[in-house]
């Protein structure tokens, strides 16, 4: 059985996932992800026409806390791990426009 995944699809998915894959990685993933997806084909054998999906196994509904201000990270603490902290308490990123 041929791989259900093409290299062009791997390139499309890499763009969506913001991954700049090398040609070797593209070849490797085309083959390996193809094998995994082929294995997952067995799920087609299961009749789920009347079955609803489970998104979450939690037995209790989520709960809310009162919307009152509480302590949070300071600006300095939030920036303390930034690879390129900018001036005035901001994160610095490459130019986006222009």
């Amino acid at each position: 059985m041929s791989s259900p995944l093409t290299k062009a699809e791997v390139q499309r998915i890499a763009r969506l996932a913001h991954l700049n894959l090398t040609t070797d990685e593209q070849d490797l993933f085309t083959r390996q992800l193809g094998q995994i997806l082929e294995y997952a084909e067995c799920l087609r054998d299961v009749d789920t026409t009347t079955v609803s999906a489970t998104w979450h196994p939690g037995s209790e509904p989520g709960w809310l806390r009162a919307d009152t201000p509480r302590e949070s990270l300071t600006n300095d603490a939030a920036l303390s791990n930034a690879p390129a902290p900018g001036p005035q308490g901001l994160f610095r990123v490459p130019r986006v426009v222009g």
Partner: protein, 488 residues
């Protein structure tokens, strides 16, 4: 130190003043110093912070004597945030990251008097079954250093097995606590989904992740569980169920307990693993338990369901690692840089191959045109797996199965064949898909002296039954007393 290294005996010795927390801390730091060079179980050892905490425990001993983990050295898997120390997820992309806060579990452990001695190695972002996918190199199994310790919490399991700490705290998304516990001969508990706060756990798959303890004995796991369990205002999925009263749970008793075994899914289990499993069930039968055959018709689909759902959630959770707010950012290569290019190069250089593989798989399963076919289909089959377990628990108290189909495999044995590695998770992923609690306890050794794990699953929020049955078994089968012979 005159104690057997369990939490219970260390705690008594410290509370009674037979030994100080500082002495205990120093003993374990010394042992880590001499042994971990052979195992690579730690990503960082926190000598100074641990000593300072131990000294505080000694100063406060009389006031804190009721605290459940007074002076107990613990390790934290490196996907759980600890204040003022590195948290790397064993990934290059978080190199240099120091969390500005403690995860809720770490806060609770510290409040109970525990002393954090270090962070443990794991597969990158907890994705893997062997601890070979770590930016810090693999961890080695203390029972045989040419084998893997399991994963993703291989460092945590190796640390407890090698007596580098009596407690490791880890996370379990598809077996990441139980499988390495089985491979290293220690106890590993994955609590019910919602039992333990995930605040401060670097998210892998949010509907599957749970934090739990790894220890030498079931009683120790129960003690640590009671410290970390409970509702947390910072995690809206935590549940309000009360934690079990351990004085009514332990010592364990298997009398009258009905144990279900899904014999039909046990074809292909390694013969020595099967033999240890059957012997363990005989021990429990002699202690008054009843073993019955149960049917879990959709269990064979648990692996494909898991390997679509978990990567899908991971691909979304790991989108946050983009080189802007924390961790690694790829250096400019001189070409004109824009934001998109910086994101892509950072993620390509920062993530390892297994993480990329899962991000790719998850992105594919969630992408337009494939979402219904893969992701929604998997979540529907997940419902059928949950129904199977609900039906089984109408007639049994716990379900038993081996933790893994084989003992620990050799380093690099599956590294080029991810599907083969994934298939080894057949007995562990169901507990995450269903949210049910599960515990792995040591059940003996193969002829080559490799540990074998025995797993029990329970009803939601019924960890007490797991402790009861696990402890009852352990009383007649105290495998934890056998230590690995390490060349030190």
């Amino acid at each position: 130190m005159s104690c057997d290294g369990t939490v219970s005996s260390l705690h008594s010795a410290i509370v009674d003043g037979d030994i100080t927390a500082a002495e205990v801390c120093e003993t374990y730091l010394d042992r880590i110093g001499s042994v971990d060079v052979h195992l690579n179980a730690f990503t960082v050892v926190l000598h100074d912070l641990a000593r300072a905490q131990a000294e505080e425990v000694d100063r406060m001993r009389d006031a804190w004597r009721e605290r459940a983990l007074l002076g107990i050295p613990i390790t934290i898997k490196d996907v759980i945030c600890t204040r003022d120390s590195p948290t790397t997820a064993a990934s290059r992309i978080l190199a240099g990251f120091h969390s500005p806060y403690d995860a809720t579990v770490v806060k609770r452990l510290r409040s109970a008097g525990a002393v954090v001695v270090g962070k443990t190695n794991c597969d990158e972002f907890a994705m893997g079954s062997s601890t070979e996918h770590s930016a810090y190199g693999p961890t080695y199994n203390p029972w045989s250093v040419d084998r893997i310790p399991g994963g993703s919490s291989g460092g945590a399991a190796a640390a407890v097995a090698a007596r580098l700490a009596p407690v490791s705290i880890a996370s379990d998304t598809g077996g990441s606590i139980r499988q390495p516990a089985g491979f290293c001969g220690v106890v590993g508990l994955k609590p019910t989904y919602g039992r333990v706060s995930r605040y401060g756990l670097l998210a892998f798959a949010s509907s599957l992740d749970q934090i739990g303890p790894m220890t030498l004995t079931v009683a120790d796991a129960a003690r640590v569980f009671c410290v970390i369990a409970g509702r947390d205002p910072l995690d809206a999925t935590t549940a309000s169920q009360p934690t079990p009263d351990l004085s009514r749970t332990l010592p364990g008793d298997a009398t009258g307990v009905t144990i279900g075994v899904p014999y039909s899914v046990m074809e292909g289990v390694n013969q020595e693993v099967r033999s240890a499993f059957d012997t363990a069930l005989e021990v429990l039968t002699q202690r008054g338990a009843r073993v019955v055959d149960i049917n879990l018709p959709h269990m064979a689909y648990a692996i494909p369901v898991y390997y679509l759902v978990a990567p899908a959630e991971a691909s979304s959770n790991l989108a946050r690692y983009d080189g802007v707010r924390y961790g690694f950012r790829a250096r400019s290569d001189g070409a004109r840089e824009d934001l998109e290019r910086m994101y892509n190069r950072t993620r390509d250089e920062g993530f390892g191959t297994e993480v990329k593989r899962r991000i790719m798989l998850g992105t594919y399963a969630l992408s337009a045109g494939y979402y219904d076919e893969y992701y929604v289909k998997a979540q529907r089959v997940r419902s059928l797996i949950i129904e199977d377990y609900d039906r089984a628990f109408e007639t049994v108290d716990v379900i038993a199965m081996p933790t893994t189909p084989t003992p620990a495999f050799h380093l690099r044995e599956h590294v080029d064949n991810p599907l083969a590695m994934y298939l080894g998770d057949i007995f562990t992923v169901s507990a995450n898909l269903t949210g049910l609690p599960a515990i792995s306890v040591p059940a003996g050794f193969t002829a080559d002296k490799l540990p074998v794990g025995l797993q029990f699953l329970g009803r939601a929020f019924d960890e007490a039954s797991l402790f009861r049955v696990g402890d009852a078994y352990e009383q007649d089968a105290p495998w934890w007393r056998t230590e690995p012979a390490l060349a030190v």
